[in-house]
Amino acid sequence: MIETMAKIRESDHQRLDHLLIADMVEPGSKVLDVGCNDGTLLEMLSTQRQVKGRGIELSQKKVNICVARGLSVIQGDADRDLVDYPADAYDYVILSQTIQATHNPRTVLREMLRVGRHAVVSFPNFGHWRVRGSLFFNGRMPVNESLPYTWYDTPNIHFCTIRDFVDLCDEMKVSVERALAMKNNGEPIKMSHKRLANLLGEQAVFLLKR
């Protein structure tokens, strides 16, 4: 973890959750990144963790960027396209900063854990004090660096807090293998203090198992 933190400080341009995700993925494993964006995480996982990586991305423009980078990526949708994949096809199915934009997060999660032996989910924590503050003091939906959209044009339709997510995992009888919350400076917070993590963690990363 200290090593990871050092990397985080070195490379501010990398998304913080990427390094935490990379930490959770076994080297050389088979990985499907759902909502892989421009392929930054996939590329990092294949160069640093030697994974066999594939991606699904909604935006065709970003897919084309990924393929030009030499990544195996298709245009697709987390809600619709995971059903095509056979069970146990991957060691890890990753959903990085995407679950809040899915129509049916519960189904997506179930599909992820059918297709993959593990699921890695990272999301912005809606229980973070700044979000609470925005609602409490301003009476407005939060708009900030990590939640940059206004309510009417946001792709994020299913926000949740860390505690909400843990509840969903319990209800689905999904076991949480590892969980990390992270302050906006990248400093991790232990999940053993759930309330504190939910208050101070701006991002959360969960490693799940069926």
Binding site: N64, C66, A68, G70, Q75, D84, P86
Partner: protein
């Protein structure tokens, strides 16, 4: 003749090709062209599959027309399919008329051109013939098989039939089966040829006649399907051809008419009418899922081939949905697949044209496959 058709491999009467339809083809020739150098362990071979009326001269300069090869934008030194790095081979398909055996070839049994006595061939037959050619040349595995339109069908057939010989495959602007609409267009073309009295029941070569008018109409109809409505509108609109006003007659008043007539006319000079019947038929019969018991993913079960599927937004002949079905099937076998859809208004023809985003996708796909294959650029440096 050889300088006009490149290199030719002859397969004798003792090396018959068993065809899908039950018949046997022997002897036969396959004309092909190569670009770049094969490396020591023969691991850098890229097979290019041409489209319906394409030929073996994919890159460089065409020896007859003097024009650039049909995919010279894609293949060459420093191009996406980099001949400094890869050894490229492009054979003319059997059934065609540009050096490989087809209905215009002499039937050794009669001493006359085959005409419609030539056996009906399929995409699988074309692929099997190509496999024989590679055997002859001592080429085992292909680093990549790449092609657009009908060429894409060959690519899919290669990956399905010989997965152990294919490391990567790029089927472009294609489908895993020819659609009803596409069969319909082909039928219009074939009927135009066969309705031409000069076709003579297919025996025109022996009688020294040519069904040029029918073949030209077939090409004109097909050519429309290669373009998009936007491209036609942008290029021609309702512009008049060398005149100020319409003539109230049936001359080519409009530029688009004149353009199509020209396309039909030049095509007749380079393509055999019977070949057009046979090769369009081969495309019509193509149905990879049908051959796999109705489920496309069964055609690719357990495949290790890396795929890059490409479609173009304004291609209504092989629309993106067709490519998507291939992607779904490959996902169902957890295959290694990339899929790009290129935004363009140039229609089906876009795969032959200057589409930078398409080129970078192919270049990226091949570079990463080359890394996986352990092909370094250095190894094949000349």
């Amino acid at each position: 003749m050889t300088d006009q058709i490149g290199q030719v491999a002859h397969f004798s009467i003792d090396e018959p090709l068993q065809l899908d339809g039950g018949e046997i083809l022997a002897p036969y020739d396959i004309a092909y062209e190569t670009y770049g150098e094969m490396n020591r362990d023969r691991s850098n071979v890229v097979l290019i599959c041409h489209a319906l009326t394409g030929d073996q001269f994919a890159a460089g300069t065409h020896p007859v027309s003097g024009k650039p090869g049909w995919w010279s934008r894609m293949i060459g030194p420093g191009k996406p399919i980099d001949t400094n790095r890869f050894f490229v081979i492009c054979p003319n398909v059997i059934g065609s008329c540009l050096g490989s055996t087809g209905p215009a070839s002499i039937d050794p049994g009669t001493g006359k051109p085959y005409g419609t006595a030539f056996p009906v061939i399929t995409i699988k037959d074309m692929v099997n013939a190509q496999a024989r050619l590679l055997d002859r040349l001592g080429i085992g595995d292909l680093f990549s098989v790449i092609g657009g339109s009908m060429g894409g069908m060959l690519v899919l057939q290669w990956a399905s039939l010989y997965p152990e010989r294919v490391f990567s495959a790029a089927p472009i602007a294609t489908a895993a089966r020819h659609s009803s609409q596409n069969i319909a267009f082909h039928e219009v073309g074939r009927q135009a040829i066969m309705a031409d009295p000069e076709w003579c029941g297919g025996d025109y070569l022996s009688q020294d006649r040519r069904p040029g008018k029918g073949l030209a109409v077939a090409r004109m109809a097909a050519h429309i399907t290669y373009l998009s409505e936007e491209a036609l509108q942008r290029k021609f609109g309702r512009n008049l051809q060398d005149r100020e006003r319409i003539t109230f007659g049936f001359d080519a008043d409009f530029q688009v008419e004149s353009y199509l007539r020209h396309q039909g006319m030049v095509f007749v000079d380079r393509f055999d009418a019977n070949s057009y019947l046979y090769v369009t038929r081969a495309m019509d019969y193509f149905d990879l899922a049908g051959d796999a018991g109705g489920q496309l993913h069964k055609a690719f079960c357990g495949t290790h081939v890396r795929f890059c599927i490409v479609s173009f937004t304004s291609d209504w002949l092989f629309p993106t949905e067709e490519s998507r079905q291939i992607v779904h099937a490959l996902n169902a076998c957890a295959a290694n697949v990339s899929f790009v859809e290129i935004e363009t208004d140039k229609g089906h023809d876009a795969f032959l044209l200057d589409e930078p985003e398409f080129f970078s996708a192919i270049a990226g796909f091949l570079s990463s496959a080359a890394r996986e294959r352990g092909l370094t650029a250095k190894e094949t440096d000349q």
